[in-house]
């Protein structure tokens, strides 16, 4: 969200090769808009009520998780239903560190790193299966992690434990500190996703998504790329779980290891638009609007949201964002390349005009 400027494309001699740009339109102003939104959000605790601050905080947590799931499934083709493993492990790392006298807020990045480290041995196991079997295997890992944690008495067993260390803060400053921690996590998560997808890794992932065999034969390290994505997703979900522990000041295995986290990540991403960075943001907004309006109707918001996700998956697989912007080609986070357009300012004035662009520019 911090950098929206299109980089200078590789120098191309006019008339020999089509130009390559990051975006169909100049997007430098979006970077400024992104910074403005983040600054505005940073001042929110002083502007809106405590209840609204708490809603925003949960919005940031859900957006962090959904962005990670989007990275896994939308870009690397891995459907995980076990991301709650890292949500729970992140929360419990904060609890362990706080029990040891560590500041819970300072423990958030450590919890994220612990989850990233744990994701490596887990990936060695679950990467042996593909597709649907991979999905359920991650679920088994999450269930096993939950059962192991629940059996440890010093961590509160099955009933969980309160997180110590923040009771000295006044309610107002506690609210602000947790809010800012959540804002920092979500900005880093979305920014990291954006940077990752614009790097060489993003190129490999795009190649794998379009044609895995072709990508392999061109020398792309497909498994390494997947492993990095799995690790980053564990990092982000671990941070989100750590935020849950800090903001709720209580950790309970049945809550942090609940498969509902994965369900929400999946539905948010599907509805907002899988395979776009903007999708989870829009999906999270829709989710919170729906949840706030159906708060008194029990589980109905999940029923409606799930049914909506099913309908969108089948009949509008690009999601709300993808469907809305398919014609406009607007991208807040340009991660692909447009081939076939030469940017005007790169054209030498005296050179013959560039060859006509193909009718449809392809995005990579």
């Amino acid at each position: 969200m911090t950098t929206g400027a299109a980089p200078v494309p590789p120098t191309v001699e006019a008339g020999s090769l089509p130009g390559v740009t990051r975006s169909a339109r100049p997007t430098a102003w979006l970077g400024g808009l992104g910074v403005g939104v983040v600054v505005l959000l940073a001042f929110m605790p002083s502007i809106v009520s405590q209840a609204d601050t708490s809603i925003l905080l949960n919005f940031f947590i859900l957006l962090t998780m959904s962005s990670m799931w989007n990275l896994l499934a939308g870009y690397a083709g891995m459907v995980s239903i076990g991301q709650q493993a890292f949500v729970g492990l992140g929360a419990y790392t904060v609890l362990v560190l706080a029990d040891g006298g560590f500041n819970p807020v300072a423990a958030i990045p450590i919890a994220a790193l612990v989850c990233a480290a744990l994701s490596v041995p887990i990936s060695l196991l679950v990467f042996r299966l593909r597709g649907g079997y991979f999905a359920i295997a991650t679920w088994v890992v999450a269930d096993a992690a939950s059962l192991v944690i629940s059996s440890i008495g010093s961590l509160g067993g099955g009933t969980g434990k309160p997180v110590p260390g923040l009771s000295s803060l006044s309610p107002k400053s506690f609210e602000q500190v947790t809010y800012w921690a959540a804002l920092a996590v979500v900005v880093v998560a979305v920014g990291m996703t954006y940077a990752l997808l614009r790097s060489r890794l993003g190129l490999v992932l795009a190649a794998v998504r379009d044609n895995e065999v072709g990508a392999r034969s061109a020398g792309a390290r497909v498994v390494t790329a997947r492993r990095i994505v799995f690790l980053v997703a564990a990092l982000g979900c671990g941070a989100a779980g750590a935020l849950l522990a800090v903001s709720q000041l209580n950790v309970q295995p049945a809550s942090v290891f609940n498969v509902q986290w994965s369900a929400e990540m999946i539905f948010v991403t599907m509805i907002g638009g899988i395979g776009t960075i903007e999708g989870p943001i829009l999906g999270s907004v829709v989710f919170f609007l729906l949840q706030q309006n159906l708060a008194h109707e029990g589980a109905w918001y999940l029923i409606i949201f799930g049914a909506l996700a099913v309908v969108i998956a089948i009949w509008a697989p690009r999601g709300l964002w993808g469907t809305a912007t398919a014609k406009l080609r607007v991208q807040l986070f340009p991660v692909g390349y447009y081939v076939g357009r030469t940017r005007r300012r790169d054209r030498p004035g005296s050179a013959p005009p560039a060859p006509p662009a193909p009718p449809v520019a392809s995005t990579v």
Binding site: L124, G131, L147, A263, A313, W315
Partner: protein, 289 residues
Amino acid sequence: MSWLNAIIQGILTGGFYALFACGLSLLFGVMGIINLAHGDLAVIAGYVAVLLIPETHVPVVWSFVVVVPIFAVGGYILQRTLLQASLDRDPFTTLLVTFGLSVVAENALLEAFSSNGQSLNIGSLIAHSFNPTTSISLSYFSLTVLGVAVVVLGALQLFLSRSGTGRLIRAVADDKEAAQLVGVNYRHIFGIAAAIAFATVALAGIASGMYTEFAPTSGPANLLFAFESVVIGGIGSLWGTLVGGIVLGVAQQIGAQINPAYQVLAGHIVFLAVLAVRPRGLFGLRTSS
């Protein structure tokens, strides 16, 4: 002696798991999709039985006679509509759609029936058992379920290898475009496979509903145990699924013998160990990656 009893109980539990797993295995084998709502289907079957039995005056023990055909028809219809539509996109979409259906079904059941456990009460039939020694008890009901699992798996194997429809299913599983070229309507064949899978999972759901309690949230556990049975036994092997179910059941009962809290965890550990050491399973013919 209690260890021996644990192993025997585990073998008996394996019958339930194999019954749960064969539909999952069949759908994967034929269509290459994983039905993540598989476990919830078993729970729905239990609730359908709870709702229908007072209306139909069928003895509870025979409730499957009513529920299994309903599920077969429902499976065919669901396959021809929603599942086929998602399959026409790609396997990825099918995975997400079945997961969405699973969450919707679970929460809808919670709204309709609350989170309280239910069971299908078959009275004293559940209590009868064969006791060779004082510490070993073989429940006749569990033995029947194990027998049913063997019969269902055997019948499925025979059906796939000998019958005309079974041959069509195998042809479509191998190459649905080629099958279509010689005049097979693969969508209809997919529907038949789904009907069989739904029928077996309904049978499993009712059998387990008679034996233990079930609740709207029982679906994921059913799915995970069925899946573990399939992978331990070896993807693509029907008899492997039976062995996988038994291995899982024995692991869980031995875990429970050590500490009741370790029952499910022991099963997960054995599953992960198989994945680490022998990822194609005990009887798997194809590699999984």
